[in-house]
Amino acid sequence: MTALGPGGAFATTARHLRDFIQFRVYRPAHLRIGLQDFFDLRAPAGAVQSNSIHLQRAMDWLCRAQDATSDGGVAARYRLSKGWAASYPETTGYIIPTFFDYADLTQDENYRQRALRMADWLLTVQLAGGAFPAHDISTPREPRVFNTSQALFGLLRAFRETGNATYLNAAGRAGDWLVSVQNETGTWSRFEYYQRPHAYHSEVAWPLLQLFRMTQKPVYRDAAVKNLDWILSLQQPNGWFDQCGFKEDQAPYLHTIAYTINGLLESGALLQPDQPLNNEYVQAARLASEALLHRFEIRHFMAGQFDRNWKATVNYSCLAGNMQTSINWLRLYEVTGDIRFLNGALKLNDFVKSTQDLHSNHPGIRGGIKGSHPLWGRYIRYSYPNWAVKFFVDALMLEDKLVAELYRQEGVA
């Protein structure tokens, strides 16, 4: 490698300079974040605020992301280069339950109303065949399997909260479309990223199982189980899942690894609620989670991408993936009672809390969670994706609930 080669000092400097201009890092609010990340000046471990403060700031950010669009959906992300993006059906779908949960927690009706506005917007973007479109709505509307499944979370929750059959009917049409485009083998490859099946489609199976519970139509359960069984066949003895990334030739992001684990875990818990520990999907999720926990605890850092030996391939952290992993560990603690998972989740939450800017004057930055830490990591670079904030809120709410329960059991004030 030479200084002038592709990975040389000249090319690196040129890339940073290009990023500096393209992502408008020279703006004061952006520059502040850039410098903080360059020197890794996060809040000291013992100086992160209480969860309620971080939660409130994150929810404020999500409200601003919703208000940034005029349609009721939630802006996909705040980009340092171009500002707020358009509404994103996939993530608006799974942000809806977060708003209902936060409304329950705070007894603030405003969050419930916002969730319903999101659900109503989802109804307007559903495609004729029942699918939901890929990407944010500023792009041509192509049906996409994964995105459709995530919209199900919002529609089903809106139905549960309101009893309005419109939401359930829309969910049913989405579910029917998912079943109709499934391959004989139980995989989904049409209408998917790179036209290939992914292990993280366990996250498609989970909402299908929820739909089965609501409608009692076995076709949804059968489709889900067929896919989950295929995913189990991809697991290696060390817990790794083959095909758990977007692309074959790229080390998977923690984001999609965590989706894979989460889908298996929640599906197993839904299928065998009385004895989740005996469920093979839960066991598969646990095996992979233990491998991640070990890596994180040994390194005191969660990398953003891993290879099939669970070796970190990068030095940045994928913050959305961190929070998804935290949720998985918290749920595993709930299901298995293994307190090491709770311990790991507490540390992971602290890390992401330390990256959240609580004081910026900038509405796109204050309370948001970056795609990567540092900002220029490969995952959603120089942006604040709404799903990172959503998973952050879910993780902190679950942490508070579980820690409060544990303290009550142990008689700690």
């Binding site: 605890e297 307190i339 090491r340 602290d350 142990e410």
Partner: protein, 297 residues
């Protein structure tokens, strides 16, 4: 038998406690192989500032001039820790460094840059090491573990095989298990080597974590030295561990530590099998007495 201690050069308290405990068993260390203090690299300083806050780092600089050598952290607290030392060493001993102790007692000390490196292996070979004692060191690789002719020993702050890894005394209490120490042979795994000896420690009199750790720490070195003596006298056979019998634990988060502190403040007492047996026998006795009484009536 040549006994050598492998340690960090700034971990004065632990190493001096081990050496003192050996002396109580009429044993003498042949040598000490110690890791040189790491240089305070910029990135490492930033990390520490983030973890502990800039104020504490600055304080450590002003007190000893080196962020990591932290001699202050290694100094034995006056009082309790001194009680475990031989009388002739008590006065002023708590202010001693490993190097000063080694010089005073003519123990060879070698400072190396990497405990797993060639320098370390060469020093251990030159000292003709029979028994290697680990005094609070990072993971030691197979090349070093292969040097001692008898074995490498470590004392672990919990009862193996259940609690492996870090903060294990805390994890024992959090899990409601007995607190204790285990002396085990060291293999390339994390606390997975064959067990030589286990001892339960009553921590009911420890009102907080610091007191509990101090008590366990004090006793663990006595137990280690006792085991070295027994090993030399061939008084026991190591008992291999099964991997699936235990779990690896990691650094405990403060929110869980709070529960441990709470349990200790209430007087942590375990319902040990002995207590349960005692309770059962009392119940049985009461039942028999009642029966006798009823027959009599």
């Amino acid at each position: 038998m040549n006994i050598v201690v492998l340690c960090k050069s700034w971990n004065h308290k632990k190493v001096l406690e081990i050496l003192a405990a050996l002396r109580q068993q009429q044993l003498r260390a042949r040598g000490i192989v110690a890791l040189a203090p790491e240089k305070p690299a910029f990135s490492s300083l930033l990390r520490k500032m983030r973890e502990r806050g800039a104020k504490k780092i600055l304080q450590s600089f002003s007190s000893n001039g080196h962020a990591d050598s932290s001699r202050l952290n290694g100094v034995m607290p006056a009082g309790d820790s001194d009680r475990s030392l031989p009388d002739h060493l008590k006065n002023g001993y708590s202010q001693m460094t490993i190097a000063e102790y080694a010089e005073l007692h003519q123990i060879e000390m070698v400072v190396v840059r990497d405990l797993n490196g060639d320098e370390s292996v060469a020093a251990l070979k030159r000292m003709n090491t029979d028994i290697l004692l680990l005094g609070g060191v990072p993971i030691i690789r197979a090349n070093v573990l292969a040097v001692p002719k008898v074995c490498a020993l470590n004392v672990h702050m919990a009862l193996l095989p259940k609690f492996r890894g870090m903060n294990v005394a805390e994890w024992s209490i959090l899990s409601g298990a007995a607190v204790g120490v285990t002396v085990h042979q060291v293999d390339p795994g994390v606390d997975t080597g064959a067990i030589l000896y286990r001892e339960t420690i009553d921590v009911a009199d420890c009102p907080n974590l610091a007191a509990m750790r101090a008590k366990v720490s004090r006793q663990q070195h006595q137990v280690l030295a006792k085991c070295v003596r027994w090993l030399i006298e061939k008084k026991f056979a190591p008992e291999p561990q099964k991997k699936e019998e235990g779990q690896q634990f990691y650094l405990m988060h403060d929110k869980l530590r709070k529960i441990v502190e709470h349990k200790l403040s209430k007087g942590y007492k375990l319902a040990s099998p002995r207590h349960i047996l005692g309770l059962l026998s009392a119940l049985l006795k009461f039942g028999l007495e009642m029966e006798t009484f009823l027959v009599f009536v």
